[in-house]
């Protein structure tokens, strides 16, 4: 299967490790992975700010860059989510592009859901001795139904104990531009998330979206919490030795 990796702008800038973990996992699942160079941003910031014109322009760029692959896979529920659920709506008035958008939507997947639901991956052959808790990023959960898949794979990691996070499904307060525009509300939300994480007694917290992880890691570090923050892909790919946790010294 020819898979094109949708890197996401946050992974590109902040944490390439996640991109390489995704590639490793996809190759383990038997895919050939390519990374189209002409990709930049999925258009969420423009779309969610009401700027449909720029959102459409970026969506067209994505349509062009990812044409011809069997699948498009992103290590992010929010980027996969906008492509799957919202690109068709963006082009509702343009039948020719709508067709392409629907077609792209049908072959675009969030990473862990792709591994489990499409590739049929049930286990990973990895060891990581940690008590871990898992935050369900909103778009992945509600737009794409990503819930049991990461938990399924994490349970197969030797030495890993999974503790359910109370309020796992409650938003962490990142919300893209929201955390900039309404910082006090965002702070309250991430503080509640921090309290829930700390209460589990876990020594690591994982999620499938880097925006959430930057937000959560930033808050945990500000309060001196010794809790490791990583993208779930890094753990599943067995790359925890190669890269320090998010926010930790290299």
């Amino acid at each position: 299967m020819r898979v094109a990796l949708f890197v996401t702008c946050l992974v590109d800038l902040f944490r390439p490790t996640i991109g390489f973990a995704a590639v490793k996992l996809l190759e383990e699942a038997g895919c050939t992975v390519e990374v189209p160079r002409a990709q930049t941003c999925c258009g969420q910031p423009a779309y969610n700010s009401g700027n449909r014109a720029d959102a459409k322009a970026l969506a067209l760029q994505v349509l062009d860059a990812f044409a011809g692959f069997d699948y498009v896979v992103a290590p992010s529920g929010s980027c996969a989510g906008i492509i799957r659920q919202h690109y068709p709506e963006l082009f509702a008035d343009d039948p020719a592009i709508l067709l392409r958008a629907r077609e792209l939507a049908a072959r675009t997947w969030e990473l862990v859901s792709f591994l489990v639901d499409v590739c049929g991956m049930l286990t990973v052959n990895v060891q990581w001795d940690r008590d871990v808790t898992y935050h369900d990023a909103c778009s992945g959960l509600r737009e794409l139904g990503v819930k049991f898949q990461p938990r399924r794979l994490l349970e197969s990691v030797t030495g890993l104990g999974l503790r359910e996070l109370p309020g796992a499904e409650v938003c962490c307060g990142f919300g893209g531009t929201f955390c900039i525009k309404y910082p006090e509300i965002s702070d309250k939300m991430v503080s509640d998330k921090e309290a829930d994480i700390v209460a589990t007694g876990a020594t690591a917290v994982l999620a499938g979206d880097l925006g959430c992880l930057l937000n959560i890691a930033g808050k945990l570090y500000r309060h001196g919490r010794r809790i490791e923050v990583r993208h779930v892909a890094e753990v599943l790919a067995g790359m925890t030795e190669e890269a320090s946790p998010i926010g930790a010294p290299r």
Partner: protein, 476 residues
């Protein structure tokens, strides 16, 4: 009701700093979702009923003119009267005219969001008529001169000590040494104080959860019994309802009622669900002699046929409010008007204007929890986004955000340039943050770093590393 939505940011700060509010919100934040989930787990048909509820409402809205006329005919046939009001002023005038016609001095009120919307209590007071709220939460906030902070639990922002303080201050004829510590004592006191008001009222005003076209009936869904005492004891019963409350048949109402209590409080059914049709009949020993319905438009007819039409499906259950993490952080008063939370963020701009309520659709992460719990499947985040589109088109958002986002869009539409800039940024920030792995402060990101650290980039962009890896792979 006077709106303070414009000062949303200040309202938010006040809410976050209010310890009593935060304590009260903490109680509600976990309680409501849990109870709803338990109720739904007991009803396997719930998902299917959501779809049915949605289609009942959609069908009604598509034929709203027919159903309203049919409804009115049935109200009249059962001895009632319908007063059509385009605006809050017309609605208040209709109520006043009815009150004056029976020489009313005291009016009891069951909870009505429409009455809040049109500012009825203030209007009646200005015209020499005393309006007494009887729903416990509404009564408490009436004594405190506060607006409601939730559409079904108006006093949810208060802790019991605040209620006790208010009762001591306002119930001056009672023994000042009495104990007022537990909710039980507060409820008993309210019951005792309000009972004579129920009996003295000339006119009783309620809202309506639904209006039934088939029979010309109004339906109220309560737990306390105050709505029933309000509408049964006085000589006149006035129902205040907006246009979109009408549903075709009793069977349609039954379906929506199954969704309502479970979505609101996690109850199977409310303690009192009452269907009222016209005034007392010949031979009845009790009941009002007159039955009036004030049917309010106030912008609903304009929403039909627009991208906001789906909002008119709302059955005012408050599930979206109860599950919203933003509401749970800031409380209902921050939204500045009658309707808080996600449904308020969609409805308020349409009723009082987007320039007045511009913050509301923006103060959301689009987490989507509201849509997932809405019993009639209103796509709330989509409609919040539509408001943002209108604000963008009208250039209502602050220039610094527009500018920043335009810059981002400009750069990301030029992949070659983008890749260069991202590589430069990741190297620069990666180098600056290499020691600690994170930044305690970051220029241009002070909103973020005021309250949390910013993790440092790894020092190279993914695309540049990938290109290198491919090159070294190709060279092998």
């Amino acid at each position: 009701m006077l709106a303070t939505s414009r000062t949303f940011e200040a309202n938010v700060r006040a809410g976050l700093a209010d310890d009593n509010l935060q304590r009260a919100l903490g109680l509600a934040r976990t309680g409501f979702p849990l109870r709803r989930r338990l109720a739904i787990e007991r009803l396997p048909e719930f998902e299917a009923l959501r779809e049915t509820g949605r289609s009942i409402k959609d069908h009604t809205l598509e034929h709203l003119d027919f159903y309203l006329e049919f409804y009115e005919g049935k109200v009249v046939a059962s001895g009632g009267k319908v007063h059509w009001a385009r605006t809050p002023q017309e609605a208040c005038a209709a109520v006043l005219q009815i009150c004056r016609s029976v020489g009313a001095k005291i009016v009891t009120k069951g909870k009505s969001m429409i009455a809040e919307e049109v500012g009825l209590n203030e209007f009646l007071e200005e015209n020499g008529i005393t309006a007494v709220e009887t729903d416990l939460g509404e009564y408490i906030i009436q004594l405190r001169h506060e607006p409601p902070s939730h559409i079904i639990a108006p006093a949810i922002h208060l802790v019991k000590e605040q209620v006790a303080e208010t009762f001591r201050a306002e119930h001056r004829s009672l023994d000042p040494t009495r104990s007022l510590v537990e909710p039980r004592q507060l409820c008993d006191e309210a019951r005792a104080v309000l009972r004579p008001r129920f009996l003295a009222a000339d006119v009783g005003i309620t809202g309506a959860n639904f209006l039934v076209a088939e029979t010309g009936s109004s339906i109220i869904v309560t737990n306390e019994g105050n709505g029933d005492l309000t509408q049964t004891l006085p000589r006149v019963h006035i129902v205040m309802a907006s246009l979109e409350k009408v549903v075709p048949t009793l069977e349609d109402a039954a379906t929506l009622l199954r969704l309502l209590a479970r979505s609101a409080t996690g109850q199977e059914f409310s303690s009192y669900t009452t269907i009222s049709t016209g005034p007392r009949r010949m031979g009845d020993l009790d009941g009002p002699e007159q039955y009036h319905v004030v049917l309010l438009d106030n912008g609903r007819s304009t929403l039909i046929g627009t991208e906001f039409q789906d909002m008119l499906r709302c059955i005012r259950c408050s599930a979206c409010i109860n599950h919203c993490p933003v509401y749970a952080a800031i409380g209902g008063h921050a939204y500045g008007w009658v309707y808080p939370g996600p449904m308020g963020a969609v409805l308020t701009p349409s009723l009082i204007g987007i320039d007045e309520a511009g913050h509301l659709p923006n103060a959301s992460t689009f987490c989507g929890q509201c849509e997932s719990v809405c019993p009639v499947k209103i796509p709330l985040p989509k409609m919040l986004r539509h408001w943002r589109e209108r604000e963008y088109a009208q250039k209502l958002s602050p220039p610094v955000y527009r500018g920043g986002l335009s810059l981002w869009a400009w750069v990301t539409r030029r992949p070659a340039l983008y890749h260069i800039l991202v590589e430069i940024a990741s190297r620069a920030l990666g180098w600056a943050g290499r020691g600690r792995g994170r930044f305690r402060t970051l220029p241009l990101a002070t909103g973020w770093t005021a309250v949390r650290d910013m993790p440092s980039p790894e020092g190279r962009s993914f695309h540049s590393l990938w290109a290198e890896r491919r090159k070294s792979g190709a060279d092998k």
